[in-house]
Amino acid sequence: MKKIIITAWLIILNNILNAQETIYPVQQQNQLTFIINGTIHIGNGTIIENGIIKINKGKIEEVGKNIAIPADDVQTYDAKGKHIYPGLILPMSTLGLQEIGGIRSMQDFNELGEWNSNIRSISAYNADSKIINTLRSNGILLAHTAPQGSLIGGLSTIVQLDAWNEEDAGYKKDIGMNFYMPSLISRPIGRGYGMGNQSNEAGKEALEKIEQVKAFFREAKAYTINNNGKKNIKLEATKTLFNKQAKLYIHCDQVKQMLIAIDFVKEFNFNVVIVGGSESWQIADLLKQNNIAVILGQLHELPEVEDDNIDQPYKLPSILQKAGVLFCINDDDSQNRGRNLSYNAGTAVAYGLGKEEALSTITLNTAKILGIEDRTGSIETGKDANIIIADNDVLDMRNSIISKAWIQGRDINLKDKHKQLYERYKYKYGIK
């Protein structure tokens, strides 16, 4: 009896200690760390069976088969029978800006107005969001978090998911300007009933709006050359687009929208990334020719139109892959909040993409598109030690439990609110 009580106490204590509020960000380790015996998926297509990864001061110092492990004070993690992957990257999200959907006060991602180039996602990023740890549990270690909007949404930032606050969360700040291109399809006014109420003007209005965006960037360009000593913070915010420190993320799906997106490359010489791109299979060659990368929305969607092949969204990645387009895959589902990222990539495999190619679409490709491939996205020497270990195939939900993860070499705590509640009620019902 006493034993039971003690066990119970321990469990309760354990729970108290592990409420999310006590899942601490981890301190930088100075000890050398070795991950051994696992199957290493580099992220660029290469697999090393039975490999070793050497981590030193947050960086991957060596990857390979024959790496000497010193006998002195080092940490060794045996990944025998397990699979090692680069940390997954969520390429576009409102992470840290939206906690619970549907509650007005919890929505911090959509500012008033259409011309919000100066709005910055990082300034509202909540590093204590309960969503974050559920993503880490599924292997996501970095996320791109962006303001939304009805035209120019503002500047987005990449965050690493083991932080105290917005300041140490920032992995690379203000890397992109987000442009939400209006729909070019004239549809019945409003969301609802409206047969016969079609406005043929909607498409035209959208085109005019887009012209205004171009005009805005023309003025911004002139401003960057000479502002006559007058500061305009909206124009100021676009400077990094012109010197290519930032990319223009154009959120759109329709073919005509994407054709317009190409204009932005041609006229302004911007680095353009299309976000969404569900119709991109129709113009894959044009995207390739113009070096436009695509962040695909989640594959777990219905086809755009009734007549489409029933698996059109599922096979979209393999079409882009064949055409040589640089793309990555997102999970922008508002019901699971991004945690099914790797399963979206898995679906692409069932419909024609290679497994390692699919892995790239959630790691290295993503890093390339976001402009952080020099620091992460693959398990290669010199990059940050952003690494996850899965019991088995990370693309398949059947056996993809993440048992270990390092962010910049820090061995992070993989508890989350869900696991804690699971423990709490396993305890209630005496489930082992």
């Binding site: 609802g192 007549d307 059947r398």
Partner: protein, 1030 residues
Amino acid sequence: MRKFRLLVLCILLSGIIKAQETFPINGIADNRNTSYAFTNCTIVKDAQTIIQNGTLIIREGNIVNIGKGISIPTESVIINCKGKFIYPSFIDAYSDYGMPQKQVSGGMNNMADYFRTQQISTNQKGAFGWNQAIKSDVDAVNIFTVDDSKAKQLREIGFGAVITHQKDGIIRGTGTAVTLNNKKENLVIIKEKVCVNNSFNKGSSSQNYPSSLMGSTALLRQNYNDAIWYKNNNKPTDREGVNLNLKQINENWNLPQVFDPIERGIDLWNVVRADRIGDEFGIQYIIKATGKEYQRIKEVAATKAPLILTLNYPQAQDVEDPNDARLVSLADLKNWELAPTNAGVIEKAGITFCISSAELKDYRSFLLNIKKAIENGLSEKAALEGLTKNPAQLMGIYDKVGSLENGKMANFIITNGPIFSEKTNILQNWIQGEKYGVKDELWNNINGTYNLTINNGNENTNYILQVKNNNTAYLINKDTFNTKFSYDGKYVKIICNSSLKKTELKGKQNTITTFTLSGFTNEKSWNGNGKDSLGNMITWTASLEKEAANDQDSIKAKRNIKLSNTIYPFTAFGVTEDKIPKSENILIKNATVWTSEKEGILKETDVLIKNGKIVKIAKNINDINAKTIDATGKHLTAGIIDEHSHIACASINEGGQSVTSEVRIQDNLNPDDINIYRQLSGGVTTSHILHGSANTIGGQTQLIKLRWGVNDEELKFKGSDLFIKFALGENVKRTSQASGNTRFPDTRMGVEQVLIDAFTRAKEYEASIKEAEEKKKEGIKINIRKDLELDALVEIMNRKRFITCHSYVASEILSTMRVAENFGFKINTFTHILEGYKVADRMKEHGASASTFSDWWAYKNEVQDAIPYNAAIMHKVGINVAINSDDAEMARRLNQEAAKTIRYGDISEEDALKMITINPAKMLHVEDKVGSIKEGKDADVVIWNDNPLSIYAMSLYTIVDGTIYFDRNKDVQLRKDVKEERNRIINKMIGEKKTGGITIPVSPSFRYINNCSDHDEKLRMLDIEIEGIN
């Protein structure tokens, strides 16, 4: 003052035409007993009887004699109609002619409702019923006024009478039959009350209920029941008092009942849906057709309903830009091609029909559209009957109009040829014996060769004038002149220019080369004056030399339209009738069989399917009569059962009230939903179609099997138990209502009381029914109002209907179970149930099943404690757990969703699969039929290319009742078919544009999306979200 004079004049004029007995005359009486005799004409009395060279005699607005060689009264004005045809004037059975300006239609499912304040009760003042959409108190005859400008438009296309009504509301009151004469209203009414009009559209009603198609259906059914009850109350009851709406429904019960089923675009199934309402109450509606009946003619014919057709065909769209063409669905493309065949198909199916001008955008196209229907298979006789006899007979006014008979109204049209011939025009339309000119100018056929003589004062010059028609003629001397000619029936103008070029004119100064003539014609001799190019005045005469040969055309040869082009269902991935999959005997060899039974997973096993059932599971089965599928290396499972789905439905949410147990999903199934096919490709074979979650007691649900291509009735899962949807929490208390909530309840405390109140009322209702049954034995009759809402609740208490309850948080789950326990029933299933893990022990004790999402959370406040381990915990506590979709996309991957329970909670693969097969079968009480691979069960099976719980698994075959409804190889061919068929029709449309046809800008094929208003659904390019959210 001037206005007043005009008014007086009008009154005087109408007085002159015919004075009314009771109306004083300001002036001199002028009653004429005018009679007309129309001679030498082809009289089409009705579609069956034609009199050649006949005479028609009318007097005082009526036909008095008709026939061949009949004597003409001496007082008759004789009109020689040589070469003319006389037909009865047309009758429009579906019109709102002369009705007050239509109020702005609210319609159903209007998102605008979402943003305005809810209106729970009627705002109509007076002793009327509870719902504003029931306008049975309206009689069109009371609000009818003559509208001559509208009448003129109708007269010009041949109509002489209409049945008009106010197009507003679900029961719209009575229609009245009137002529299109422009006399005082008193004199144009043929019959005061001829029919009752009904629809699914609540029209101008601002009341929230009904907000869905099934709500409209329920409202109509309840009102019929109420009317019967009201009638059987010998006197007004204390509690109901006088109810003028119910009184009127009874008074007009035996009138012809017309139903306009069109709602939110056009949905063909509404024809069938409307008919079913009528069947329940012994009413055969006359149904306004949707224009798409050809797509499901068997089902339409089976309704036995006469139809009112409008011939408004879809127009060709400008699809040259492939980005535009992409927005038009195959269904819409095909409909453009096949819509003109609709009338012909309807005729061949033996359906009685009328042709109406309702919703006609361009009146001039009316006859053209009928001609187009005739080109596409409609017989001329049927067309004529549809315009005359059928509407008259159906509306009970055939004794007055609809054919040319002695004693009937003198309503007829005079044409210059057979009415449906291409070049024929309506010349005059006579209504109640009064003439309305339509194309009088064509009365005289002047076509022919004339000798024309011009006199310039000095000499006569002779010309030949060849008149081709009223606007074309050629003047010939030595040369053929460039001639501009016009003739308006009386007055003729000829402008003549030499066709010779100026250079050629040199040296021909004496020849008059240009002149202008005008003058009057009188049958065969014409004369007038003019001037020549030099300005000299001239005169001219012309006389007929030779009439043009009568080149009366016949209607174009009928095109050979292949009606086999119809596909089932009428959408992409539908197939022609000969390719509809059929039940087969199938032997599946050497599969890994996941039985979902105690036998577990059987390796290298054969399964034999016969007559739609699984007949044998064993190794090495042989059957030469069965189609063999080699499943070596493949996996076989039972078909997936989705406990929570909203596909294949025209409406999902009736949110108008907190208790709507009277509404039924079965009333609005849509078997043409592409999501049926898409979900078959994901291995789903059975879906539980639920009402949404807008209210505490939602609607009755419907279990279906995904039989792609069948009709709505065949979609149903036969012989399953009845279920109903309940809902708790945020949706029910309208948390997201933009304008704030005024509908009770607004808290979870209130939700509990709504339940208690509803079942308390149901108990009393049941007791009163029982009491009435007892009294009946004693010979005492008690009149009980049949309450559709409470009937469903009584069924629940008697365990004849079972609850699936949308729920999230622990408190509401517990409180609802307590309410149920207090009333002696159980909650069969908690659906969503994302906090089920917190109260799993109590749920188990109660005996409830749980149907949940695998990993959803954080999309609203009440799911912030949702965890992906939920299913595993509930399963481990011993609850029967299912994983459901509630989402048309996710339903295609339910196997993957189930697989997540392995990852979150360490469930075995076998148990995970059960959560989408046998477990939902159990909670839906169909485990004896489906949900596992067991001999004797329905052959609903899926063959997978991989472990069915793997993300890499795809269904190769999805079989329902032994019928292969999805075959991944065949799907490759279907994709090609869709592409080719689209391409063919798009090219045809582009061709139409190139050859000068009229095209309209592309009209995207929007899809109206229903969901249960619970969570975000990402809209696709052409989706428009509709919710009966109010």
